[in-house]
């Protein structure tokens, strides 16, 4: 049975999963919830995703939610398909710890601030609501405060989890692109943050991201 990806085609967290499916060339079928009916808040959706969010996958009966968990599952299950996205030796405790460190860095130090800006300036806009300037300012301050850390990290290594590309680099794509679209230069300021810019240019120009960043294709 083909893997089923349950998400809106434009949901940022759904796109995070889709880019990996494309990078690894894994066949899938997109199943979009009925947005108007708020299907993702329905009892039947909650059976699969207890937080009423998207995405979740149904991999031949195995249901999994949290985009970053889904990504790791795909990267591991299909390790030998498409682009390698794991450390070379997955029995290397230290390499796997650096991977976990990288996953945690994105969720702790990027997502809250980038997500905060996106929530106010993009998602609220979609819902016809106004951005709250106080929350925007707070998130902007938070984001700027982290950039030195990312610059330091990427000055020592090529990618987020070491010198090889891993799935963690892709975690940044949806909000990173969202911030670019809003006119922020956090990830593109070559003079101020040359290593961030170098890394972002490479990761964000991957074909797999071009394929899904506007809208997740209905299938692969």
């Amino acid at each position: 049975m083909v893997l089923k990806l349950y998400t809106s085609a434009i949901a940022t967290c759904g796109q995070r999963v889709a880019v990996i499916l494309h990078e690894k060339q894994i066949p899938y079928e997109l199943i979009e919830p009925n947005w108007v009916n708020k299907e993702h808040k329905s009892e039947s959706w909650l059976k699969n995703h207890p937080f009423g969010q998207m995405p979740f996958i149904d991999d031949d009966g195995f249901v999994l939610f949290e985009s970053r968990a889904i990504i790791r599952y795909i990267a591991t299950k299909y390790a030998s398909s498409g682009t390698p996205l794991l450390p070379g030796d997955t029995s290397d405790l230290k390499a796997m710890a650096i991977l976990d460190q990288a996953i945690s860095i994105e969720t702790s130090n990027f997502d809250p601030h980038a997500g905060g800006i996106m929530k106010e300036k993009t998602f609220k806009k979609w819902a016809g609501q106004e951005a709250d300037p106080i929350f925007v300012a707070k998130s902007e301050e938070g984001m700027v405060g982290k950039l030195d850390g990312f610059e330091k990290l990427l000055a020592k290594q090529k990618y987020m989890a070491g010198d090889s590309l891993t799935f963690v680099d892709f975690h940044y794509l949806p909000y990173g692109t969202g911030l670019e679209k809003l006119g922020y230069d956090y990830l593109t300021n070559e003079s101020k943050y040359p290593n961030i810019a170098r890394w972002w240019k490479e990761v964000s120009s991957r074909e797999s991201w071009s394929a899904v960043k506007n809208s997740i294709p209905p299938s692969l």
Binding site: L46, P50, F51, G52, F62, L64, F65, E66, S67, R68, A69, I70, R72, Y73, T76, K77, L93, K94, M96, A97, I98, D100, Q101, I103, S104, I105, T107, S108, N109, D111, P112, K146, D148, G149, F150, K152, L153
Partner: protein, 222 residues
Amino acid sequence: MVLKLHTMPWSAGGRRVALLLHEKKVPYELVEPDWAAQEHKSEQWKEKQPFGQVPYIDDDGFILFESRAIARYIAAKYASSGTALLPDDTSDLQAMALIDQGISAELSNFEPYVAGLVVEKLIKPLRGAEPDQAAVAKHEATLTEKMDGFELMLSKRKYMAGDSLTFVDLIFCPYGNALTKMGYDHLTNESKHPNLARWWKEISTRETWLAVKDTVPKSFLV
């Protein structure tokens, strides 16, 4: 060389790591940064932890930060020591995926809102600042919704990542403790959230958590 845990003893992340060390009976030594001098913001500290945060560990020269990553590293490295905190079969893709799901759910759906409330209700008063009531209301509303999700998760399985205890459950301890300390009953209201209450009662009364919940002990030598 004994593992060095670099953190302030009251740090939530520091206590999270200490809990794992105690559960797995791993000897360690607490190395406190000079708080008054804001040592964790120094350039020297940032050589090890580029974001100027705590904790980080130095395991015989191997530097690792992000408390949840450290927790997993300890659980994996010392798999055969102390409490079993990983799935029985770590090559079981689905079991490991549920671990990742649990870690992600804690970081996305629990931590930000509890930490937000901690800032307003515990940290700001310490500094003589007024809590931002709008922020409190926002965090409370979202948290209430999220806790319903965790209740649903725990209605299907005994623990956060399956039917056995794993390090994922322990990751919740510092902010779970803070939530209860602030007077919220999301984790203790047996009529409203019976599964959360059942789970939290078990996790929060572990001897190892009681040993570290207020402050990281200076050392732990088996």
